[in-house]
């Protein structure tokens, strides 16, 4: 660890070819991020075969740039169309879309991109300087700690989500149960397939996301008539500069979001819960919590900072430990092996030019990224001028393509339609969708962590309480889970009349 390492990295990252590769990656990534359903993980997977003949460092720069681009692109559809391109953009829609509808799409987008950049920069700086220390901490995490962290994530949906706690729990449980469908990789048994070969592969969360958020959202939007409510946006240098003048006001939200994002990010599936946690904390800390959900700029800053910080932090365990922190990082890890590199701590000593080139490219990639998306928003805003009767079938076709591309399986297109209807019904009945998707993503990981913990403890649940780190996390998680029960009790104890339940997240 030293200054000479990062200088070496920059020497590699700013060669003309690698800068060119970063620009290509960000352009493609932003387009992929804008198209609902074609997210970072697919995008990286789709592009992976094209990198086999490239030098590994350029290849990883291409894929990570694609990932940054997808992270930026997700914000565009969330703000302008109310369609989150990625699960971690869901929280951005809460305030981004109302802002865009009120004619402040330019401000919302500038805030989103700037927050993304700040979050990413924060994580990159931390990765640069604290990678070895944080790797040590993460190394101490055993299965009980991982399971406890996952419970903490879900408990925050129930305790801080603001919706009906029963329905939040049902969404979580349904997600976990759907994740269990198919082959159980530990015992090799088929679960809940009832003899159907189609069900053997289970339900992929990407298909679920495309259906629930993509198709479901379209169905919900057209209720008000066959028009697409893509908000108009004014984006020019003046809007950007004016927004930049306001943003320093939210420095606390930036800092909180960055820290939450980094902390959640190096664990699998961290970006989505990080964005929700950051949003919930910003709302609780705000002097005007009632403005959240109606178009508060801070409500865009909080989730975007955390999501991007988490997205970058997901690279940390991949390069230091060889453990992917996100589905996208998992695909990149596969790439590393194909390029003939051994993922893990040895990379730092054996391939310093690769590791430090990658770290330096995180700086250059995000700087190029934020400037490019700010400059080319008018290009993306052109999507808004496409008439509804063209855009709807286009989105449905792109969703179908995205669903099919996951496993090259026709059944996934059907699942997408079914998830679309489920998403429509659930949203109307106030069942939150994000915990369902998150449970579907984390299902196998959580189950494995639980299994390994129980094996360690010979079947006793006490292991989640007696280990010091796990114990603290479990206690906080339990507190959040029980919060809906404690809240009326607490109010009565303080002599405050039971208030009307807070309005749900849109």
């Amino acid at each position: 660890m030293g200054l000479e390492n990062i200088i070496l990295g920059f020497h590699i990252a700013i060669t003309p070819f690698n800068l060119f590769v970063a620009v290509i990656g960000i352009t493609l990534g932003t387009i992929i991020g804008v198209l609902p359903g074609l997210g970072g993980a697919n995008g990286v997977a789709i592009l992976l075969p094209l990198t086999f003949r490239m030098p590994p460092t350029s290849a990883i720069i291409l894929l990570t740039s694609l990932y940054w681009g997808a992270l930026f692109g997700g914000a565009i559809t969330s703000v302008l169309f109310n369609i989150p391109g990625e699960p971690w953009s869901v929280a951005t829609t809460f305030d981004g879309y109302p802002l865009a509808k009120a004619g402040q799409g330019g401000q919302a987008l500038t805030a989103a991109f700037t927050s993304s950049f700040v979050g990413a920069l924060f994580s990159t700086v931390l990765i640069t300087f604290f990678a070895p220390i944080l790797a040590d901490v993460a190394l101490k995490f055993g299965p009980p700690e991982i399971f406890a962290i996952q419970m903490l994530t879900f408990s925050s949906f129930v305790g801080l989500g603001g919706g009906d706690p029963l329905k939040s729990l049902v969404s979580i449980l349904l997600g976990f149960i759907l994740a269990a469908v198919g082959l159980d990789i530990v015992t090799g048994q088929l679960r809940m397939t009832f003899g159907s070969t189609e069900l053997m592969t289970g339900f992929d969360f990407i298909v679920a996301v495309i259906g629930l958020f993509g198709i479901g959202e379209i169905l919900l939007t057209v209720e008000e008539g066959l028009e697409f409510h893509g908000a108009k946006t004014m984006m020019n240098l003046r809007v950007v500069l004016d927004t930049w003048k306001i943003l320093p006001r939210y420095w606390r939200t930036f800092l909180r979001g960055s820290i939450i994002g980094f902390w959640m990010g190096f664990k699998p599936g961290g970006a989505t819960p990080a964005s929700f946690m950051s949003y919930a904390f910003a709302k609780q800390a705000s002097k005007h919590p009632e403005r959240f959900g109606k178009g508060e700029l801070e409500g865009v800053v909080a989730p975007e900072t955390a999501a991007h910080a988490a997205g970058v932090a997901a690279m940390l365990p991949m390069i230091t430990l060889g453990i992917p922190g996100s589905p996208t990082a998992a695909v990149m890890l596969g790439g590393l092996i194909i390029w003939g590199l051994q993922p893990g701590p040895l990379l730092f000593t054996e391939k310093p030019e690769f590791v430090w080139g990658l770290i330096a490219s995180m700086y250059t990639g995000n700087i190029i990224g934020v400037l490019m998306v700010l400059a080319f928003v008018p290009f993306f805003a052109a999507i808004l001028r496409i008439p509804f009767a063209i855009l709807t079938p286009l989105i449905v076709v792109v969703c179908a393509i995205g669903s099919y591309a996951v496993h090259n399986n026709m059944i996934d297109i059907w699942y997408m339609l079914i998830f679309g209807v489920i998403g429509y019904v659930f949203k109307k009945l106030d069942y939150p969708l994000a915990p369902l998707v998150l449970a579907l993503v984390l299902g196998d990981l959580a189950e494995n962590a639980l299994r390994q913990s129980l094996i360690m403890s010979q079947g006793s649940l006490a292991i989640f309480v007696t280990r010091p780190i796990a114990g603290v996390i479990t206690a906080v998680a339990l507190f959040f889970f029980l919060m809906p029960l404690l809240r009326p009790w607490w109010r009565r104890a303080r002599g405050v009349p039971a208030a009307v339940p807070s309005p749900r997240e849109p």
Partner: protein, 153 residues
């Protein structure tokens, strides 16, 4: 709204029941190498049943005058849903490219009332562009039908 809430909770209750049934078949106890396959789904489903039960009790008590969906709202929703379903059925028969051409053309003419020129241009141009991007550029194969086979793909 009340009826929709009750029906949804009952469907979820049924799903939970099915999951419990299968979990018990797989074994919910302790196997030779840790918890059996049914252990995790069993407890999840049991919790799901309990939560749905509570939701049903809650929903049954609460009267709601607001309908789940009005006739005026349902019509445009179905106008999106059934062509999309038809597109998926067509994809299975003639492949994604032809299906998306027919779907796009039909939708543009029927809902958007765009001119025939725009309809034909886009419904042929978009699938070709899709083909070039995915099949050629990204090397992602899509479901194909007789037309692609006739063209040699």
């Amino acid at each position: 709204m009340r009826a929709a809430n009750l029906v949804t909770a009952c469907v979820l209750l049924l799903l939970g029941g099915i999951a419990i049934f299968d979990s018990v078949r797989l074994g919910i106890g302790w196997g030779t190498d840790g918890p059996k396959s049914g252990f995790f789904p069993f407890w999840l489903s049991l919790l799901l049943l309990a939560m749905c039960g509570l939701i049903i009790v809650q929903a049954a008590r609460r009267a709601s005058a607001k309908p789940f969906v009005s006739r005026e709202q349902l019509r445009p929703v179905l106008k999106v849903l059934w062509p999309a379903t038809a597109m998926v059925v067509l994809t299975q028969v003639v492949g994604l490219y032809v299906a998306s051409a027919l779907y796009l053309g039909f939708y543009m003419r029927w809902v958007g009332r765009h001119s025939w020129l725009a309809v034909v241009a886009l419904s042929i141009g978009v699938p070709i562009a899709t083909f070039l991007v995915f099949e050629k550029w990204f090397l992602v194969p899509m479901p194909k039908g007789p037309l692609e086979a006739w063209l040699g793909y």
